[in-house]
Amino acid sequence: MKILVAVKRVIDYNVQIRVKEDGSGVHTDNVKMSTNPPDDNAVEESVKLKESGKVKEVVAISIGEDKAQETIRKALAVGADKGIHVKADNYIEPLGIAKILKKIVEKEKPDMVFLGKQAIDDDCNQTGQMLAAMLNWPQATFTSKVNLKEKSVEIVREIDEGLETIEVNLPAVVSCDLRLNEPRFASLPNIMKAKKKPMEQINAKDLGIDLNNRIQQIKVEEPPKRKAGIKVANVAELVSKLKNEAKVL
């Protein structure tokens, strides 16, 4: 079996983002970037399935500017076999990303596509589901457990009410939750080895897809700030404030 795993380069999850004063977006210059966290889980699970012998090949793909290659190299360093970089310099909406991934799926013919359930920058939570619909494949979203069988995969999903177990036929799209596994760190020798692994480069505009964005970003602004609060000295004062000042008890 073969897995295509999609990774996105985003502002690191620990960075406190700053909104640009002109309302055009957020500052990205000199800001630490890293792999979208649940995409790390997607890579880890793909590599684990390869190590278990059930999967033969793991191909990592990222779509974006040249630096997206760093994100692919990181996936290669933890065990992916080959990288595909689809070069695109502008922001592409999930709909366009799903269309690009569909083209690559048609070429690579994987049995499963793994990816994070959501990117922590635009917080859209769409790409995996859109890709599955375009391919007419079933999907498993918010995956926290994977049991790969011969022609299907049994999945435990995190839903608002608790946990849900489903079984989807292969081929399928699997979107990964943060509790699926504990992503490993790449060792230095593996980072060196990853530099020699193959990386295919494709230009997004050569794929013959309409990638024009349909959603116009009018402005980006800071959310209203909370008024600074106070520190209370002890529990009695806290309860008194909640009762008499905030009137919530």
Binding site: Q16, D123, C124, A133, T141, S144, Q216, V232, K243
Partner: protein, 317 residues
Amino acid sequence: MSVLLVAEHDNSKLKPFTLNAITAASKIDGDVHVLVAGANCENVTKEVASVPLVKKVLWCDSPNYQNYLPENLAPLVTKTAEKYDHVVASANTFGKNFMPRVAAALDISQVSDIIKVSSPDTFIRPIYAGNAFATVKSNDKKKCVTIRPTSFDPAEKTGGSAQVDKIEAVDVPNTSKFIKREETKSERPELGTARIVVSGGRGLESGENFKLITDIADKLNAAVGASRAAVDAGYISNDHQVGQTGKVVVPDLYIAVGISGAIQHLAGMKESKIIVAINKDGEAPIFSVADYGLEADLFKALPEFLAELNKLNTIQK
């Protein structure tokens, strides 16, 4: 032109967040039609029909829709959407699961998780874990929108009498199978709609110690929340997680105990009306959003807090 809203329910009862989504839908267009797809879900159609903001109910009953498998549900929504300008649903694990499939089938760029309707084509949505608000305009002819339920008031439940039209089921691909759902049963209020939420983090140190949190929650008739760290550590189940990738809550009172306040947690609770933080680390980021901060050891503070609450006689039930 009308807006089509997809109802969330368990085949016998409507899920409360659908009422919030109805309010949001009515701000896009007054002619709100609600699709109720399920198995033996007639009771749900009655519930929806009595919501005054709802103008029409579309009822599709088939065993294929019993468990809302997106492979089955999305084709029905896609077909029904033909006559509508907007398709909307709640931005929770229900709506997030199927709506992008509908959008892709219709070749529409979906607008996710809106917190405000500025006009029928312009919406405000949080990005970067709520650290920025983006105003976006959809230029697609038809629009697929998911709604953050806690940003809209629930619609009035009774007084309406919308017409209920039965519609035909559509073919399903038979590529997915529902096996089971493990729901956490609780006597406490639901996390998403509770007036008070008491949340615990890694500072609790164990699942047993969460009793300190649940004791207070029970006293206040509150829901129990948790940080991702506490869920990851196995102290409590995932359905309690508050944050960017968990649930977003907007209670009147949010009490964060032993939670440092990572950006991802703040994303799920910082719109709460009053925030209390109890943490022994005075520098913890949670204090930057707290109205009332108590720098203290939670293992001493929580029993004292419970004792003080027991002295009050004004707690609303």
